[in-house]
């Protein structure tokens, strides 16, 4: 039982990170119907920015409180990563809006290749380890919960609450939902569609940057190629939850996290990704549009 609860906590931590990245996929998909393949690399850019900020803080000050360091890392990462996603949307996706469906997918894949290789060229191909930032571990009745895990879950919960408020209670969120339903009608009603789409990309990137910072804090290492696997897992999570649905993305993220930690605990760690992907395929056989997704009705 203790072992099970322990795995549950590990899965929750992992799932939070996947959920944060998955929201970026699902929001972009909802609003312009494209798979933003570069999102995993945006997450990696976020983690790398946090790493560089961490090193700058270490070089400039003798010692910085961990809370402040994490906050500064997170904020700078959010700003710069948003700038990346904003630029990419403008350069690579906007000219192809209204073109056929596969065109932006190909530019997204191209951007993904370009981003990871850009970081490889400018920062070098090696793994970048940092000294552990937070190492406190609490023991509650035989279950060890590290402070890192608490930070990840709390930050994710706070951000999701803020994000939920933005989408459901503000005029910006209303504009986003309107664009999602009918872009042309939204434009006729005076919504700046281009700006709304840009903001969607910025929001997705900001959440991915937080996920990147938390990833760096949790694992303590990042490399240029680390965007792909979490990116694909998060995309899997978004599809599993029903792509286009925000609660679905979080739910899918948590599910993938649980599947992974449970499989590596009870079966074999080598096949944890195989398990996650197989469960995706099995779920989609029975629910072809994901768990919370609305089935697409095609009118003739």
């Amino acid at each position: 039982m203790q072992y099970f609860v322990q795995q549950l906590i590990n899965g929750l931590t992992l799932g939070s990170i996947y959920g944060l990245i998955a929201i970026g996929y699902t929001m972009v998909y909802g609003i312009i119907g494209m798979i933003n393949f570069a999102h995993g690399d945006i997450f990696m850019i976020g983690a790398f920015t946090a790493l560089i900020v961490f090193l700058i803080l270490g070089a400039l000050f003798y010692s910085v409180p961990v809370v402040i360091a994490l906050l500064v890392m997170m904020i700078v990462a959010m700003l710069l990563t948003s700038l990346y996603n904003w630029t990419i949307e403008k350069v690579a996706y906007r000219p192809l809006r209204g073109s056929f469906r596969l065109a932006p997918l190909i530019t997204a894949i191209g951007m993904s290749i370009a981003l990871s290789n850009f970081v490889q060229v400018t920062q070098g191909p090696r793994n970048k380890p940092i000294p552990p930032m937070v190492s406190k571990v609490y023991n509650i009745e035989g279950i060890s919960v590290s402070l890192k895990q608490i930070i990840i879950v709390v930050v994710t919960a706070l951000l999701l609450a803020l994000f939920w408020y933005l989408v459901n209670r503000t005029s910006l969120g209303r504009a986003q939902r309107a664009c999602e339903q009918d872009r042309k009608m939204a434009a006729l009603l005076g919504i700046d569609v281009d700006r709304t789409i840009s903001i969607t990309f910025v929001m997705g990137a900001a959440l991915a940057a937080v996920a990147g910072t938390l990833f760096l804090m949790y694992y303590g290492v990042i490399a240029f190629s680390d965007g792909f696997t979490p990116g694909v897992k998060a995309f899997t999570a978004a599809v599993l939850g029903g792509i286009g649905s925000l609660p679905g993305a979080v739910l899918g993220g948590l599910m993938i996290g649980f599947i992974e930690s449970m499989w590596s605990a009870y079966f074999s760690i080598d096949y944890k990704d195989v398990a996650a992907f197989s469960i995706l395929a099995i779920v989609l056989i029975f629910l072809p549009s994901g768990i919370l997704g609305r089935p697409e009705v095609e009118k003739v």
Binding site: V53, A59, L102, G110, S112, A114, Q123, P288, G290, E296
Partner: protein
């Protein structure tokens, strides 16, 4: 009016004012993007801790270059292009006027002269100019040769356009012969010709043709049936491992295993097809991607059979239909049988013709299938699935045959790849390969065989050519490795080509079925399917 950052103010601004503003915007954005990534570099010191190396001059240079580029483009480039467009419309010239300005007789003569002079001096270039400048001179010579060839092609463009397929096949069939003869003339002996041809036939010929074959195979699934497949490399892997395992364990010949590998890949295509029959669009995309990853992860982890990440080596070579072998130690080694000098190039030339044959087989089957009921059902499925069902087409078998046929060609290409490398490992079957193949299909203009072949030549040949830029080391110092920039440029080229030509290189289609006469239709009238 040009698209700029603030269109509402463009009306009052002069081009120079606008360009200055745009250059400042661009500079600010580039500064923001690159300040941490180019301005600073993370590096390990002796005690393995991360430290920061400062590179502010590089950052400054990048920002200034971007600003200058943006300024020149807005102030001069855009007005020039706009004027050109108006002039072309006014004079009623065809849109290819830019090309006629670029390819002119004096330029052509100058290019030939440069090539001739540099070729005469070839031996003494290093002595005359020093190693640094000699590298540039060789690069200039390569550019001049490419320009001269392009102008010849341009001059005969209408003839080439009329007989494109026949000329293309003839050029491909004679390519190794021409390479060997040119290099033999250059080095003065036949042996030198064979030796030097290795790189050209292997890196450029075989490498490109493998991708052509893979892209033609994927084209059946994506271009004809409209099913988005992001895990095509899985079938390539199945074919490669089928030949590698059966060839090394049981010593079976390539000619037996080639159909076997194709059948096995087709079987896995059906295995993938069944669960995804009900899925559409992006759900289909992610499941195929997951399938590709599952195959790769199983290959990595099933160490008892596949030897894990270490891969399988010592895969037997292909024999010349069992008559002659390409192993030096065998009694029927080709050089002994034909009584000629030993060379590794024979095997490469043989492999070149083998993959060329496989490619032509793929093209032939695709063209014939398009005229058969199953091929028409694929295209109907791409255009409208519901209409297909209403007309009584069995969508289940239609989708499964598309997956199986595409996978079979992937399997053929895979077993060829294993035979050519002599070594397979999971490293060769990562998602990036699937992405590259899909990019070639889309860039070529989905469904067009010629366009796909051109796209493969440009993208794969281009990245292979980047390996040849070693002379840049003399400019940027010996630490500079052009190799590293290969994939960066490849990714950027994908974006640029797609934005420039969203419908691919060949934007028109030959209709499969027609009423009275066959007319090419614009690519924008064909749908890409919803999976």
């Amino acid at each position: 009016m040009a698209v700029t950052a603030s269109p509402e103010r463009d009306i009052v601004a002069t081009p120079v004012q606008r360009a200055t503003r745009e250059a400042l915007y661009a500079g600010a954005i580039v500064l923001g993007l690159f300040v941490l990534f180019i301005g600073l570099k993370t590096d390990q010191n002796i005690s393995n801790e991360l430290i920061l190396v400062q590179r502010w001059w590089l950052l400054f240079a990048v920002v200034v270059l971007t600003m200058v580029g943006r300024f020149v483009y807005i102030a001069h480039g855009q007005p020039f292009l706009a004027k050109q467009k108006i002039a072309d419309i006014a004079t009623g010239l065809l849109p290819d006027t830019v090309a006629t300005r670029f390819f002119r007789l004096p330029y052509f003569i100058a290019a030939i002269a440069i090539v001739a002079v540099l070729a005469l001096l070839a031996g003494s270039l290093d002595a005359l100019l020093g190693p640094g400048l000699a590298g540039y001179a060789r690069f200039a010579r390569a550019l001049a040769i490419i320009y001269a060839l392009a102008s010849v092609l341009f001059y005969f463009r209408s003839f080439i356009h009329a007989h494109f397929s026949a000329l293309g096949i003839a050029a491909l069939a004679t390519y190794p012969v021409i390479v060997v003869l040119v290099l033999a003339l250059y080095s003065g002996s036949m042996a030198g010709g064979f030796q030097g041809s290795l790189k050209w036939i292997d890196n450029f010929g075989i490498q490109i043709l493998i991708y052509v074959m893979l892209a033609w195979g994927l084209n059946i699934v994506v271009g004809l049936a409209g099913l988005l497949d992001l895990g095509y490399v899985a079938f390539y892997a199945v074919g490669a491992y089928a030949y590698a395992l059966l060839g090394t364990q049981y010593g079976l010949s390539f000619w037996i295993l080639l159909p076997a590998a194709g059948a096995m890949a087709a079987f896995w295509g059906v295995m993938l097809g069944f669960p995804v029959l009900r899925l559409r669009g992006d759900y289909l995309a992610i499941v195929t991607l997951a399938f590709g990853e599952i195959i790769r992860l199983v290959i990595i982890n099933w160490r008892e059979v596949t030897n894990g990440s270490a891969g399988i080596s010592g895969i037997p070579k292909v024999s010349f239909f069992g008559l002659m072998s390409f192993n030096v130690s065998d009694p029927n080694y080709i050089a002994k049988v034909l009584d000629i000098a030993q060379s590794g190039a024979y095997y490469k030339i043989f492999l070149y013709y083998l993959i060329l044959g496989l490619c032509l087989l793929t093209a032939f089957v695709t063209i014939r299938l398009r005229r058969m009921p199953v091929g028409r059902a694929w295209e109907a499925l791409r255009e409208d699935e519901i209409a297909c069902r209403s007309l009584g087409i069995n969508t289940t078998t239609t989708k499964l045959t598309a997956f199986a046929t595409g996978a079979m060609f992937g399997g053929f290409a895979g077993s060829f790849f294993a035979a050519r490398q002599g070594f397979v490992s999971p490293e060769s079957f990562i998602f990036l390969e699937s992405a590259i193949i899909l990019a070639i299909v889309v860039l070529g203009g989905m469904g067009s065989l010629v366009g796909i072949a051109v796209a493969a030549m440009v993208m794969i040949g281009g990245t292979e050519a980047l390996r040849e830029l070693d002379f840049l080391k003399q400019v940027f110092g010996p630490d500079f490795t052009p190799e590293l920039y290969r994939m960066l440029l490849f990714g950027m080229a994908m974006v640029i080509v797609m934005v420039w030509k969203p419908r691919g290189f060949v934007g028109s289609r030959e209709p499969t079925a027609f009423l009275k006469e066959r007319r090419a239709v614009s690519g924008s009238f064909t749908k890409e399917g919803h999976g």
